[in-house]
């Protein structure tokens, strides 16, 4: 009975242990308010079994908190309820018992009455006394039905004759027994009652609580058995007062009463404690993650719920916390985050990539577009220009002529702009291919200056100085170098109104790409203690003298000395290193460049200022192209400038020196001297004085001062004795001859007289040469003829210049232009006839062959200045033919398949050529492809095969003319 009754409350107690439900239901079930007074309810509670991980004194303190009080209240209510219940039940039982007792009393009464009746009847029978007594009659009728039944039930058990003595005896004994039983029952009930009462007294609330707590504790343990959590309570000093830790690393005794710091060390402890303190300070529960890294359990992450515990007075007396190990989850989460981040980065990268790809594509397309457009514009423009030029040859009056001049010059400007754009886009797209040919830097400098002098319209001095140690021949892309030089010079001329413009060319040593003074020292160091030193110094000084336009200059006696050491210098250089760095300064005394404009100078379409653009014109592309070209060749282009004082553009370029066998195995005196003369002939200084517009070719030293002395008259100070010495050798006019040789087809002898005659012939023929040819004639003439030519020049000079200038333009398309020999390789008859007519009208000699094989045969027999090559041809196409020709040029041998029948040409290519000089083995004939589409792949193939350029078909005046201008040096 008691067990059943307890089962239910137990459940309720257990449930009430969960913090969420505390008091909720029971507060409603029981009225708590009255209990408030009973605050020390726990005083009586005994804790028989003491769990080790609890500080019970602390529990008392905690019980004093609001929550503790409510717990107590609940316990008390519960106990009262139970007690009331028990009392009720006991009362009920008591009632039952008393009723039974009454019955027993009644039974007893009845038995007694029966007894009397029997006795009376017995006596009546015996003494014949009346059976019914009034006094007993009432009593007789009293027995209840129940008792009647009972007595009736028992009656049959008596197996004696009714109304006999034995019967009554028996009956009396039976009743006696019943009475006895009844009395016994009564006594036991009384006992029970007493016992119950005693029981009731032993059910104190304290015992009840202890039991309940114990059960809750068990229950909690059961539930938390496998929970990976730590539950703990810490007091205001953050000392542990309670801890539940399912997987303890420490015994509880080591924890209780200690702080986190005393137990653990390492990362995270401080953070957790600060949060706990914060919770205590603010009184707000919080949930946080703490990453620990302690020597005790390594790196782990706990999510921790920390709540403050308040006393009844509202003060914080500590914190409870529940912590759960979420290391794995955190790891997973981090991994996920990591993956997500990486994914995001990947995506971003991809977008960025595709965007930049897109931009690049767009840029490429735009550039291509620009190039194509430029190309398209160039064609009709050239048409317009060439027609205008033709028009200029017809009879026009003065006004018309002027108009035409304007037209031509503006047209040229546009054409230049378009060419620049094309060049630039070529460089940028990587389509610009550099070629390496052997060339003579001295000649290049001279030609550039000559060209500039020819078109000079101002009173400027043009000068050029070339260091003695600059090799005679170097390998590089002469066309591009020339382009750069020309560009820089024309810039310099454009922005210089008075003074001079010049070029310095020197060899720099890689470590010291710097100034001339260092340059000088190098020589001193390189050849110490030898007489050469002075000579070298002189030779180095002379260009500088020239630079500064000073009047002091070395005497020409030095020249002799000069020639030899230079040669040796050169040889030294040549043998020791394969690559020389050529430094070229282009300086002027012009308007200069403001400092703030310097950084923009090499940018496209940028000019020093808008003002300049208006004043001087130009596109702003020139320097950008120069810079790109220089960089493409592996060099650098820099500028130094001072406003109103001038600018110096300097580029440094690596150039290879061609290996010449004679140098290594023939160190003879004779050879070196020959070499020396050759060297000194070409090198040195060039000066183009404004008065004469002519050039001085001086051996090693400049004699500018002399010209000054002679006023406007030009004197060439070429010492006759040296000239005489030279004669037997290759002689001093090699370079000029070459120059002529390119222009004329009939001069291939090498002495002074012939040169003169050639020159005169040219003059007589009315051949239009560049102005410099005139100058050369003067300078190259022997001493005795100088005055004649010089004066004649002087006399005729001014007017001739004018005339020549006007003629100069005409020469480009007039039939009397320089006759270059061109080989046309083409199989289509229509194309042949068109191209041929055009070339003839441009004044060029032309040979025609129909396929690549024939082209090779033609090249084997003649020297051509240019080859125009169709790509698609029967038998052998243009690409293959080009490859064969290029291979011959570089090796000197024809491929077996195309070997010429007679070997005459190969033995001495110089003989076969009416135009080349002996050393031009490395010289290559320009081969221009004629392709159907200038931007298709075939263009690349052409370049790859060794062709120099391509013109798109159909051949027309402007594209063929451009190409000829570019590739025929004398044009």
């Amino acid at each position: 009975m008691g067990d059943e009754y307890l089962a239910e409350p137990e459940n309720e107690v257990a449930r009430s242990m969960w913090p969420e439900n505390i008091g909720d239901k029971h507060q409603r079930q029981f009225r708590m308010e009255t209990f408030r007074k009973d605050q020390d309810a726990f005083k009586d509670v005994k804790f028989d079994e003491k769990p080790v991980h609890v500080d019970f004194r602390r529990l008392m303190e905690m019980a004093n908190s609001d929550k503790g009080v409510s717990h107590m209240q609940y316990f008390m209510k519960h106990w009262e309820y139970k007690r009331a219940n028990a009392a009720r039940l006991l009362e009920e039982e008591l009632g039952l018992l008393s009723q039974q007792r009454k019955e027993i009393e009644q039974n007893k009464q009845q038995i007694l009455e029966e007894q009397r009746f029997q006795d009376e009847s017995y006596y009546a029978v015996k003494r014949h006394v009346p059976i019914l007594d009034e006094a007993y009659e009432d009593e007789w009728k009293r027995p209840s039905k129940k008792n009647d039944e009972l007595s009736r039930n028992r009656e049959p058990k008596i197996d004696a004759d009714y109304d006999s003595v034995s019967y009554w005896k028996e009956r009396a004994i039976q009743l006696e027994k019943t009475l006895e039983e009844s009395i016994q029952r009564e006594r036991s009930l009384v006992e029970k009652l007493e016992e119950n009462i005693k029981n009731l007294q032993s059910h104190t609330p304290a015992e009840e609580f202890s039991g309940m707590l114990k059960r809750a504790d068990y229950f909690l343990h059961l539930v938390l058995q496998s929970a990976p959590i730590v539950i703990a309570h810490q007091d205001a000093d953050l000392r542990y007062r309670f801890i539940f830790n399912h997987y303890p690393t420490l015994a509880d005794e080591d924890v209780i009463g200690k702080t986190d710091y005393e137990i653990l060390s390492g990362e995270g402890i401080e953070e957790m404690n600060s949060v706990k303190r914060e919770v205590m300070a603010t009184g707000i529960a919080t949930k946080r993650e703490f990453a620990f890294n302690t020597p005790m359990f390594g790196a782990k992450t706990f999510v921790t719920y920390i709540e403050p515990v308040f006393s009844k007075g509202g003060e914080t007396i500590g914190v409870n916390y529940v912590a759960m190990d979420i290391t794995d989850q955190v790891k997973r989460r981090e991994k996920m985050a990591d993956i997500r981040v990486r994914e995001a980065i990947q995506n971003a990268k991809e977008t960025e990539l595709s965007r930049s790809l897109h931009i690049t594509e767009e840029t490429m397309r735009a550039k291509q577009m620009l190039a194509t457009m430029s190309h398209e514009i160039r064609s009709p423009l050239s048409g317009v220009l060439s027609m205008a030029e033709i028009l200029a040859t017809t009879k026009l009056d003065k006004e018309q002529h002027q108009l035409l001049e304007v037209m031509l010059s503006s047209g040229d400007l546009v054409l230049q702009l378009i060419n620049d754009i094309l060049d630039l886009s070529k460089v940028e797209s990587g389509a610009m291919k550099l070629e390496s040919t052997t060339f003579r830097p001295r000649e290049v400098v001279k030609h550039v200056l000559q060209t500039a002098a020819a078109s000079l319209k101002k009173e400027l001095t043009l000068e050029g100085c070339i260091g003695d140690d600059v090799p005679v021949d170097v390998i590089g892309d002469v066309l591009r170098i020339r382009q750069i030089l020309t560009n820089l010079i024309s810039n310099a001329v454009k922005f210089t109104h008075e003074g001079k413009v010049g070029i310095n060319l020197q060899v720099v040593h890689e470590q010291q790409p710097g100034c001339k003074m260092e340059h000088e020292k190098i020589h001193k160091r390189a050849y110490p203690g030898t007489p050469i030193t002075t000579a070298a110094e002189n030779s180095c000084l002379s260009p500088r003298n020239c630079d500064k336009d000073t009047l002091n200059c070395s005497k020409h006696e030095d020249v002799v000395q000069n020639g030899v050491p230079t040669c040796e210098n050169f040889r030294e250089d040549h043998e020791s290193e394969e690559v020389v760095w050529l430094r070229c300064d282009v300086y002027d005394t012009g308007i200069g460049i403001p400092e703030k404009s310097l950084p923009l100078l090499f940018k496209r379409y940028m000019q020093a200022s808008a003002d300049h653009a208006r004043k001087y014109g130009g596109t702003g592309l020139g320097l950008a192209i120069c810079k790109q070209l220089v960089e493409l060749m592996g060099g650098t282009l820099t500028v130094v400038s001072k406003e109103n004082e001038g600018s110096t553009f300097t580029f440094v370029l690596p150039c290879k020196i061609p290996v010449k066998e004679e140098h290594s195995d023939d160190p003879d005196e004779e050879h070196s001297s020959q070499n020396g003369f050759t060297n000194s002939d070409i090198e040195g200084s060039f000066l183009f004085k404004p008065q004469m517009r002519t050039s001085l070719l001086l051996s090693g030293v400049s004699v500018i001062n002399n010209s000054k002395l002679f006023g406007a008259k030009l004197m060439c100070y070429d010492p006759p004795d040296i000239l005489d010495d030279r004669k037997p050798f290759s002689n001093g006019f090699t370079s000029k001859e070459q120059n002529f040789a390119r222009c004329t087809s009939d001069s291939h002898q090498s002495n002074g007289a012939s040169v003169r005659s050639t020159a005169e012939k040219q003059y007589d023929d009315g051949m239009v040469l560049e102005l410099n040819s005139q100058a050369e004639r003067i300078s190259s003439s022997r001493g005795d003829t100088v005055s004649v030519s010089g004066s004649s020049c002087q006399k005729t000079g001014p007017c001739k210049i004018v005339e020549e200038q006007s003629l100069h333009k005409k020469s480009k398309c007039s039939p009397i232009g320089n006759k270059a020999k061109i080989l046309l390789v083409e199989d289509n008859r229509v194309n042949i006839i068109v191209a041929k007519s055009m070339l003839e009208q441009l004044g060029h000699g032309i040979d025609i062959v129909n396929n690549g094989m024939q082209a090779i045969r033609a090249v084997q027999q003649h020297q051509y200045d240019l080859i125009l090559m169709d790509v698609h041809m029967p038998e052998m196409d243009g690409l293959q033919a080009t490859k064969h020709i290029r291979s011959f040029e570089s090796t000197g041998f024809w491929d077996a398949s195309v070997k010429p029948e007679d070997d005459r040409m190969i033995a001495d290519p110089a003989i076969s050529s009416d135009c080349t000089h002996a050393e031009s083995q490395g010289q290559r004939v320009p081969i221009i492809a004629m392709t159907a589409n200038s931007f298709s792949e075939s263009a690349d193939e052409c370049l790859a095969a060794g062709m120099d350029s391509y013109i798109s078909k159909p051949v027309n005046f402007q594209n063929i003319k451009e190409c000829l201008q570019h590739y025929l040096p004398s044009q």
């Binding site: 229509v830 007519s837 698609h872 159907a932 159909p954 005046f957």
Partner: protein
Amino acid sequence: MDYSNLWRQIFSMKKSLFDQGYLDEQYNQLEELQDDSSPNFVEEVVALFFKDSSRLLTNIEQALEKYPQDFYRLDSLVHQFKGSGSSIGALRMKNECSMFKAHCNDRNLEGCRRSLQKMKREHATLKQKLETYFQLLRQVGPRERAVNSRK
């Protein structure tokens, strides 16, 4: 003969040839090449072109009929055709050649056939038109033509 009238006729005819795209700038260049030393240069070149191109057209047609088609050869034939066409400035023919070449590239036989028919048509039209034009020019005479050959 009324020269100025004739000239107007020639001029308008040439203009229409240009306007309709039969000829392009290249033709002007041809006329440029004509001078006293070769007074009938343009006509000669054009005649040469038609002679060559007729032969080429026949070759192309034959190549196209042959089975299997040698597209490479076709392409090279058309390329020649295009080359000479472009030399005289026969713009429309040149364009059709480009189409043909594109079809060759795609190995589109039907397209090639179509292009060939167009090419033949263009060829015939151009021939007829230029013949008329030259006839007119001949009436004017070589001297004037040289002076006035510009558009």
